[in-house]
């Protein structure tokens, strides 16, 4: 599980690291939206340049971003191939039954590929430069207006941060239970599919039981420390919106204007 880059955070002190997590989240979602404004190579070039600039500003090695793309590479290739072989229009280079290789198809394939990679790069950048807890805090603060329509924002964010805090603990626990069951003869990696699924039972049941015990203990500890829900609670961590956050928003605004100007 060590290879999984999803949700990993790399410590650092770059420009991107120091941005307000709320700004980063807004920008990340906004970026996914403006990617769909692109429809020619100039626009893709502009967005690629923007992404590259962000990546450089984060001082994170490019190899991390490429690792972020890797788990999705089959989905990307599948989509690209579909685009390449099933889009008609322009000069036809090659034809075989329903499969056609056309100028537009190739162009579309490249565009879809770029679109995927750009979106993944940006979201990887968000998780690599923002600690999970800061993301949870940012979510709470961004969702705050939803309180008006009775969405339990505080509870959701507490759930999120407790879940994040217990991910490493439960991972440890899983490894321990697996080792304990292995030492009693359970084989997790061999046999037919049915056999393997059955082997998961001695792992899952103790894990569920222990997760529930933990939950109960945690609830008692929380209550003993005076937890009474979101009402009247103050926050230890404060997110401060700075000039650089506004500047980044303005910068993305300018990129959008550029995109609208360049697209045909």
């Amino acid at each position: 599980m060590g290879k999984l880059l999803l949700g990993r955070y790399l410590q650092g002190n770059s420009f991107v690291h120091r941005l307000d997590p709320r700004a980063k989240m807004i920008l990340c979602f906004y970026f996914v939206l403006i990617v769909f404004l692109c429809n020619n190579w100039q626009t893709y070039l502009l967005l690629s340049a923007t992404t590259l600039l962000c990546a450089v500003l984060s001082k994170i090695k490019l190899s991390y971003f490429i690792k972020g793309v890797m788990p999705l590479i089959w989905l990307i290739l599948f989509t690209v191939l579909l685009q390449v072989f099933f889009t008609r229009g322009g000069t036809v280079y090659w034809q075989f039954g329903p499969l056609t290789l056309t100028q537009f198809g190739l162009l579309n394939g490249v565009f879809v590929f770029c679109r995927f990679v750009l979106i993944i790069f940006m979201s990887t950048l968000l998780t690599l430069t923002t600690p999970p807890l800061a993301i949870a805090d940012a979510t709470e603060s961004l969702m705050a207006p939803l309180k008006k329509i009775k969405v339990p924002v505080h509870e959701i964010s507490l759930m999120l941060s407790i879940a994040l805090r217990f991910v490493p603990t439960l991972m440890d626990e899983t490894t321990k239970i697996m080792n304990a069951q292995r030492s009693r003869g359970v084989d997790f990696s061999e046999g037919s599919l049915v056999k393997r699924i059955k082997a998961v039972i001695p792992l899952l049941i103790p894990l569920f039981v222990s997760a529930l015990t933990r939950a109960e203990d945690l609830a008692t500890a929380m209550e003993a420390r005076g937890y009474r829900g979101g009402e009247g609670r103050t926050k230890y961590r404060r997110q401060i919106w700075q000039l650089k956050d506004t500047v980044s928003l303005v910068f993305f605004g300018l990129v959008t204007v550029g995109l609208i100007f360049l697209r045909n």
């Binding site: 805090r165 203990d217 500890a221 420390r225 230890y236 961590r237």
Partner: protein, 279 residues
């Protein structure tokens, strides 16, 4: 001395149909500034008693008075402000994503303003000698360090009473010593009333007073020296005796004339030296 906790005719059972009670007619008074150890075998009702005092459970009958207030649904939150609890499993009571966040949790709940909260978290971490670890996540801490963070979380709230519910039972000997030393300091120097529930008899022997629970009843309540001089009785209800007492027992087997009175480790050393010199 002022009494800070008064328990009158307290009974409790988890299941109302069950005739056997977890706690049966318990009467206790604990004075301010005392260090009380609560011992008893597994299932004797020690942890239940601690949870009842903090209002985490509701008694079947009887009353609990903490700092002059009788525990009820209206007063439970005020009473919890007087009591800090440190539980057994260091992992399961770590609420924050990092050390500072965990210490701040109780303060956040009480709506303490931002600046004061940061000041108090810093102070509390300093008191348990964990300032350097403020930004660490729980996975990167040892069990003893996690317990120290839990104690810091309690200290930040500035309660009058700290209850340790088997807080050292999942620690290694070194972590245990550290926590016990911290308990002693809190009690002797800072004046907290400490109630420690424990299986570790050596930890209990350091307390001012020991309460022995057996099947939900208080069967002994006295100074450690007096309790441990009743060695055989303790063995009978499945409890151990402190190390000097065991040594005495072994020496008696070898035919050495040992004093009847309970000896602390230091007294034992003195006595042994005298004994050898006399020979």
């Amino acid at each position: 001395m002022n009494s800070i906790i008064e328990i009158k005719d307290l009974s409790f059972s988890y299941d109302h149909e069950e005739p056997k009670k977890v706690l049966d007619q318990v009467n206790l008074t604990i004075d301010q500034g005392q260090w009380v150890a609560l011992i008893g075998h597994n299932g004797s009702g020690k942890s239940t008693l601690a949870k009842l005092i903090d209002g985490l459970l509701t008694p079947t009958t009887g009353t609990i008075t903490v700092a002059g207030q009788t525990l009820s649904e209206e007063t439970v939150w005020e009473i919890r402000d007087h009591i800090g609890m440190v539980f057994q499993n260091p992992d399961n009571q770590f609420i924050g994503a990092d050390v500072a966040g965990d210490v701040a949790f109780g303060l956040e709940n009480r709506g303490v303003p931002y600046e004061e909260m940061h000041l108090r978290v810093k102070e509390a971490l300093k008191a348990v000698n964990m300032e350097k670890f403020a930004a660490h996540e729980p996975v990167r801490l040892s069990g003893g360090q996690k317990q120290r963070v839990a104690i810091a979380g309690v200290l930040a709230l500035r309660p009058q009473i700290v209850i340790f519910d088997e807080s050292t039972s999942m620690l290694d000997p070194k972590g245990r010593q550290e926590i016990v030393a911290l308990m002693r300091r809190l009690n002797k120097e800072e004046g907290f009333t400490v109630i420690s529930i424990t299986h570790d008899i050596d930890e209990a022997s350091l307390a001012d007073r020991i309460i022995v629970l057996d099947d939900g009843k208080v069967i002994a309540d006295d100074a450690p020296a007096k309790i441990f001089s009743r060695g055989n009785e303790l063995f009978k209800i499945g409890l151990d005796v402190p190390y000097p007492e065991r040594l005495k027992h072994e020496l008696a087997h070898l035919g050495v004339q040992v004093p009847k009175k309970y000896l602390t480790e230091k007294e034992m050393v003195d006595w042994l030296c005298q004994y050898v010199l006399k020979k």
